[in-house]
Amino acid sequence: MKIKVEESWCVASGSCVLAAPKVFDQDENGVVILLQDRPAPELHASVRTAASVCPSAVISIEED
């Protein structure tokens, strides 16, 4: 799995952080920070959840 984020669309909701805190964080303005773009398989389900709850379609996933 490879993750990409389009920061310019981010509305600072933190929904991704709540779903997958090992993969996403936020800067001081709330904008998403991608902590790792190729997470280990045990994190994949949480990353898919994060992408699906993001209110601004910021997160895209390429499955291997």
Binding site: A12, S13, G14, V17, L18, N29, G30, S52, P55, S56
Partner: protein
Amino acid sequence: MISIVDTLPRATTDTLAPDLSSAGRSAAAEWPVVIVGASVAGLSVAEALRRHGYSGEIVMVDSADGFPGDRPPLSKAALFPAGETTVYDVVPAIRREALAMSCIFGAAATGVDRHARLLRLADGRSLAYSDLVIASGVRPRAFPGSNHREPIEGLHMLRTAADAGRLRAALARGGSIAIVGGGVLGLEVAATARGLGCEASVIEQTPAGLAAKLGATLAQRLLDLHRAHGVRLEFGVEAVGFEAGQSGSGRIEGLRLTDGRVVPASDILVAIGCRPNVEWLAKAGLDLSDGVVCDPFGMAVDHIWAAGDVARIPGLTEEGRRQEHKQNAIDHGRLVAANLLAARAGLPLKRLEAVPYFWTDQFDVKIQFAGAYSPAAREMVVPVEGREGAIAVRFEVEGRLIGAATWNAPKAMTQLRREIELACLPIDAPKESIS
């Protein structure tokens, strides 16, 4: 791949008489999942169905001519001169294409035959469904007394990209806008209009305005911010009509208030709330007392579900008040998809456990809100370290955090959302998210 179909998928002709004898019923499970509304909630359902491995047919129906764009920018960046470019797809095209669904655009749903499991479309065709998802959203309430069959130049409502285009052109001319309704939408547009150098007035009939939604502290701060930026606020007074055409132009010239005063304005935005798009369901035998009233699983009746602005689904922190916010529409969609598939498999359904959340951007301030507000709650203001002017407000009932609001403190909000979730989840329900 998305196909815009004009010949409908099988089992969808107007002469079809579905066989719902017991043999027919098992065949019905093979019929498509039909989703009415191709916006946030509808797309969230479709994506979650595929994520859960559903490989059957999905048909999406919308009365619009294509996927509606994302709405939040429409009251913000989209009103600036080059604003069209800020309206994105709700879900990027590449993600939509991966859903391999059939889309029928320009076709309003006009009725449902629950027993035959048929959705009727305005063009006379019918569509058989295994499960139907109602995601038809809401539309703005019209100004009482105005006759919207004859559009009046300068009288605006705001829901679609086309509405935003008209408002953008009006604001670009300069002049002054009077906004009826001091809710989140009205105030966002006032802030944007000031940012564009226009004069802006907001007329709100309740004296307290947003306090019933955000709590007194943040509501007061927000109004002070608007005053400091030169927005004229008229609270506790009702707008009763408009002045138009006095100079023979047919254009809006001002907004008339109950106390007889007229607020001069070249444009009026009516932002007095929305009505759920449920008229087409009038004969379906559903509870339509507040949008589509559902159980905590998102089901209205057997094989009919609802999601998004149109749906009232009781959650953890509120007695099922209908929400009109984007995160809510996404959360509903995920819930409905998971439960629709669970119901088919005879598995237990999950109740809505997502904590309600919304944001609004006004001037240079981001306000975020999670959970519920209750006038009975104790309101506690907490400073946020390291961010000038930022605050967080906690709403507690008997020591339990039921809601929170922040002012320019997004990271604090993420923590508060987690805290509310923990405080509101039933103790016997271990946190297990619907993926």
